[in-house]
């Protein structure tokens, strides 16, 4: 037998809700119409090198405790500003606080002119050039390299092709194994004919990428996110953080067509990278040539690069010093979650410091200490 509906209770709650909504709306208008600090990438840096659309940003800590600088290579999708999204949650600032001198590649905004720029151009030209610039600036034969997502895949390729220039390799949320049905991107990309897209459109438009990422979870990303915003619109701090994230997430450069074509074809369709069969202009990317220490970090709840796509790499490289860490977070939570940042940056910093051995110049190298073998571990 159905229970009677307490109509008077519903009406009372409705009245309360209306009163709350009215107060919130008043506060919200003060917040939205008032001054908001929504700038991103506010950590000071200097552009020390530029070629074409590619820039090299240099961040200097107050006190340098790591002798070997770290080059961070972000993906071509979205922007590297995510690593410096807001004060107090900036990965870059975290490294600086730990005394790490940071260089970061800014891939810029490709135009139609860049449609023929391939993965080989990105890896063996742009990356190689900036690595040489850093090596020359510091008089070092090798530097530390950290890659993020597709930038991590590029870093893996670079390290395999130029192991003599890389001291330690850190890969974060990096897809290297594409033979998995976990993660929507892996399922979708198998049905996409990239040749037609690259030939017809030239570059893959940033707006198309944005739309694609929204479609990964339309209910949460197109509806619930904004409902949450409206619920907290009277909170200045929340609004500022939200707007910063919006600024970053929709700041999507176009991706050069040739690069995207090869990435989808060789990685998503044929899974050549993890099999050491991928070639860049005839040069084979042999993962066994990655003999430098490797730290591989990824997110347990990453819907773009699921653990299955990232965890295979350590077993395929030639290095004996590998560490594998699975963090309880998602794809970008690893960089923007304050809780995870307390583990993420200190871990990398400590790991690099442990493996540091100063080498002044290529002509008079000091013999590096051989680091202890690390067991791969999944930390909860």
């Amino acid at each position: 037998m159905s229970q009677p509906i307490a109509v008077d209770l519903i009406l009372k709650n409705l009245a309360k809700g209306t009163e709350k909504a009215e107060k919130r709306a008043r506060k919200a208008s003060e917040v939205l119409l008032g001054p908001l600090e929504t700038d991103i990438a506010t950590t000071p840096y200097e552009v020390v090198f530029q070629e074409d659309r590619v820039k090299l940003k240099h961040y200097v800590p107050e006190k340098i405790t790591h002798k070997v600088p770290l080059l961070i290579v972000y993906a071509l999708i979205n922007r590297e500003t995510m690593l410096d999204l807001q004060p107090g949650r900036s990965t870059v600032q975290g490294f600086l606080d730990h005394g790490v001198e940071v260089y970061m590649v800014d891939w810029g905004y490709p135009t139609r002119k860049d449609r023929y720029v391939s993965i080989d151009d990105h890896v063996n030209y742009y990356m190689d050039t900036v690595v040489d610039v850093i090596r020359k600036r510091h008089g070092l034969p090798k530097i530390n390299l950290m890659g993020i997502c597709m930038g991590g895949a590029f870093s893996v390729m670079y390290s395999a092709l130029h192991p003599e220039k890389i001291k330690n390799l850190v890969t974060t949320v990096t897809p290297t194994n594409f033979d998995t049905d976990k993660g929507l991107l892996h399922i979708w990309m198998k049905g996409v004919d990239m040749d037609g897209v690259a030939d017809t459109f030239g570059n893959v438009a940033g707006d198309v990428m944005n739309l694609g990422f929204l479609l990964l979870n339309p209910a949460r990303l197109m509806i619930d996110k904004y409902v949450g915003f409206l619920e907290n619109v009277d909170d200045r701090s929340f609004v500022e953080n939200f707007v910063r994230m919006e600024k970053w997430i929709f700041d999507s450069p176009d991706v050069p067509g040739e690069t995207f074509r090869q990435f989808i074809s060789d990685c998503y369709h044929k899974n050549l990278l993890i099999q050491s069969k991928m070639e860049l202009e005839g040069k084979r990317v042999d993962l066994k040539k990655i003999t430098m220490p490797l730290l591989n970090m990824y997110g347990k709840y990453d819907h773009l690069v699921p653990p299955e796509a990232a965890e295979v790499l350590p077993s395929k490289v030639g290095s004996k010093d590998v560490e594998d860490i699975c963090l309880p977070t998602g794809h970008i939570g690893i960089y923007v979650s304050s809780k995870i940042q307390q583990q993420f940056v200190p871990k990398i910093s400590a790991w690099l410091k442990e493996r540091e051995a100063f080498e002044k110049s290529p002509k008079s190298p000091k013999k590096a200490r051989t680091p202890k073998k690390q067991d791969t571990a999944s930390a909860a």
């Binding site: 809700g17 979708w188 037609g196 017809t200 979870n217 509806i223 619930d224």
Partner: protein
């Protein structure tokens, strides 16, 4: 008067009389205009001559048409016209009847229980029917070979129209597919609400109800986005978009050819050459740097 009696009741005779009198009239005008010096080549006299010859030709044609044998042949041709029209209409009516049958089946399914979290066999028949009809009845007109000097332009325009139609269908199907989870979620929420009302467990807070709704909607989308149906529709839409864009670019290139503006195609060729040149220069520059380092290390700063 005697002549009038001759033409009475005979249309052929009327036409004959009319063309004869027109020819005479024009001859008189020409005679008046070119009377002083008929041998002078004047543009006006040329035009008059052309008009006269056209009138003579018309007179001959009408004389021939008034021939009983010719009239019979014409009437036979006209008799077959209804048969041709009937055939054409019949085909269209058959296709329409097929579509209407499917629509009726679709309407009859309204109100039936839509299974939650299942996307097999969803109501996509209307798109399938339209695609089949389009393929069978309409598309063939765009594939009729074009003729003449402008044949290539015409073919490209036909292709554009064809691809536009196909893209519109594909995007409609894609958008429809995206609306299906809302439909299913509404049904599930309706059932859940009925259950809760029976148990007296109606949430007093709208937020709770919303959270339930968004969770169910998310679940439906997660199921849809991994389903083979979605992959197929997404792939078809993307392919249709690529073909449409390609066809549009071809027509635009034709139009832009008349303007002093470079097209994407022309710029792409330049970009390609530029890219190859840059690559060569970089390779050479790198080699030079390596040689310099090797043979004159002090100068290279190494």
């Amino acid at each position: 008067m005697a002549e009038d009696k001759k033409t009475d009741g005979d249309p052929a005779a009327w036409m004959n009389a009319w063309t004869t009198s027109t020819t005479d009239f024009l001859r008189r005008i020409m005679g008046a205009g070119g009377g002083e010096d008929a041998s002078v080549k004047h543009p006006a006299s040329q035009a008059q001559k052309m008009l006269l010859s056209s009138t003579k030709l018309l007179h001959l044609m009408l004389a021939k048409m008034s021939d009983p044998a010719s009239i019979e042949a014409m009437l036979q041709g006209m008799e077959s016209l209804p048969e041709i029209s009937t055939n054409m209409f019949q085909q269209s009516i058959d296709s329409y009847a097929e579509m209407q049958k499917r629509w009726t089946e679709q309407v009859s399914r309204i109100g039936k229980h839509t299974e939650a979290y299942k996307f097999e066999g969803i109501d996509e028949n209307v798109f399938k029917t339209w695609k089949e009809t389009y393929e069978k009845e309409i598309r063939k007109f765009f594939n009729v070979p074009a003729l003449g000097l402008t044949r290539f332009y015409q073919e490209r325009i036909n292709r554009l129209v064809d691809e536009t139609n196909q893209f519109q269908v594909a995007i409609s199907e894609f958008l429809y597919l995206f609306s299906v989870p809302f439909e299913k979620t509404a049904k599930v929420m309706q059932e859940k609400t009925e259950e809760m009302m029976e148990q007296g467990d109606v949430p007093s807070d709208v937020k709770e109800y919303y959270n339930m709704y968004i969770k169910v909607l998310e679940g439906h989308y997660m199921t849809l986005l991994q389903s083979p149906e979605y992959i197929r529709v997404m792939s078809d839409t993307l392919n249709a978009l690529v073909k449409y864009k390609r066809a549009k670019e071809e027509v635009l290139n034709d139009m832009m050819g008349a303007l002093p503006v470079p097209t994407h195609k022309e710029m792409d060729e330049l970009y390609k050459d530029f890219h190859i040149l840059k690559k060569r220069v970089r390779t050479l520059a790198k080699r030079m740097d390596q040689w310099e380092e090797k043979f004159s290390p002090e100068e290279s700063g190494a």
